[in-house]
Amino acid sequence: MSEIFQIPAFTRAMVALFASGVAFPLLGVYILSLELIPVRFGVMHLSLLGAAVGLMLGADPMLFAILFAVAAGFIVSGLSARGSASNSGGAMALLMTTSLGIVFILFYKTNIQAIEAFNLFWGNVLALERGEVFLVAVVSALIMIGSLFFLRPISAVLFDRETAFAYGLPATAVYTGILVMVCVGIGLGIRITGALMVDAVTLLPALAAQSLKKNFRSTLALASVLGVLSNLSGFALALAFDLPTSPAIIVVGSLAVLACKLIFYIQKKAEGGRYARSENY
């Protein structure tokens, strides 16, 4: 068993999954709070296009994925300034389908190997290179530091952006910062879990944490813990049962969501029972 830790690809995967497990679920909480679900679909597809362009040019697909994702972030930020970001479903659908169409044209017309294209959709954490892992670790650290240092401005913007602005906070700058973090995270996530399963490292731990209805700080902390647990246990399951890593992480993350919902339900029921008993006395 210990031999497995000697394999560089394995340790690189572990580091990337740990770092993204800690930091990316915070992005999931931001996505949910800012109602950016359709937006993150658009960003996901645009960063997939970026990765495909990177492959076509023989460059690092992750770098291009991030560049395209950040560009998407600024587009979204611009839409948001006009008050239409969170309800821009039509525009996002157009962006998604167009990006996907161009991606397949690029794959068809260039010499991109099928396995490389496949990795973009499904991810291959064991194929991560050293520089890519370093980038994941640095970005994860920046997300954590940014979230810790600016926790109050971030929570104020998530709670009510208009009121935060009215009280003198540079709410647009904070909102743009959050969006850029989300977009960079999605761009990086493509290489780790693949475009179709970025939610595994962002949204699922956040959904699980939110379903326990704790306060904002506890939700962030819990999302991080669940993110690490999902990533690492999903990876362990994948190795033990010869499964693809990303789907294994998704299944574990989904089970975490169900477990948290069940725990909340049981807690509520117990509180209700206690209340009913105290009423009887």
Partner: protein, 255 residues
């Protein structure tokens, strides 16, 4: 009861609100009000209450949002506390305004579980630096505002678990924590039951007694009684009236 810290009017301010040929509204839409010329400069700003009144859609909330810099004037200029809302220096004025919105935030954002204390602390955002770090003076102002609004027992509760009336009191406490130079209320008491409306009305009345100038968007007749001047919106125009002028010809207006 008075606020722990006196809420003084703008020192040296000559005018609370001044509009010159102002057109307001949303971009890519026809102006809601145009050609507004108003100079609300009472000789003594202490405890002054200006009511924005008029039918729905006449531009009351639109002007309030323009006052806060949330919307830009479409034409002309708007000065609040002697500062043009489009000027870069308005950011420092905005940090001393207190906005009390009509509703609680909606959707997922409104589900963000933060405590009453944290929600009130957002009133200090304009003063507490880039990272929002709170100092002792900030904490004292927050505690005083919570106590003034009778929210001590709820300070640790999540705002999502509060009733509409309690939430409005949180909004007012947040405004007080800002130690503002001007309060801006957007239809306080809307959607509240009678008890909630009465509690909010009492709080606004005591704020007015404490001296802070107030701008109040309202349809509520009992809140109108607190106002000493009115900005009446109708048919794309707005006119400044004193209390006597307002009450005489429009007996049927307000609920």
């Amino acid at each position: 009861m008075r606020p722990a810290q006196p809420l003084a009017a703008a020192p040296g301010a000559q005018s609370i609100l001044r509009a010159e040929n102002l057109a307001i509204g949303y971009r890519r839409a026809a102006p809601v009000v145009r050609g507004m010329r108003v100079n609300y400069s009472p000789p003594d700003t202490w405890g002054r209450v200006l009511g924005f009144v008029g039918p729905n859609g006449a531009g009351k909330t639109t002007l309030l949002k323009t006052c806060l810099g949330l919307l830009q004037p479409l034409e002309g200029s708007l000065r609040l506390l002697d500062t043009d809302t489009r000027h870069s220096s308005f950011a420092s004025v905005r940090a001393r305004l207190a906005y009390i919105p009509q509703n609680r935030p909606e959707g997922n954002a409104g589900q963000l579980r933060i405590s009453v204390w944290e929600a009130v602390s957002f009133g200090r955002l304009g003063r507490s630096g880039f990272t929002g770090r709170l100092h002792r003076a900030d904490r004292e102002a927050i505690d005083a505002a919570i106590a003034y609004c009778g929210l001590e027992s709820l300070a640790g509760s999540a705002v999502q678990d509060l009733s509409g009336g309690q939430f409005q009191r949180v909004s007012i406490a947040r405004a007080m924590a800002a130690e503002p130079r001007l309060y801006l209320f957007d239809e306080p008491g809307s959607y509240l039951d009678q008890a909630g409306q009465d509690a909010v009305r009492k709080l606004i009345a005591s704020l007015a007694e404490s001296g802070a100038p107030i701008i109040l968007v309202t349809h509520d007749r009992t809140l109108m009684e607190l106002c000493d001047s009115f900005l009446f919106f109708e048919n794309g125009k707005a006119a400044l009236l004193d209390a006597k002028e307002w009450h005489a010809p429009r007996e049927g207006y307000g609920s």
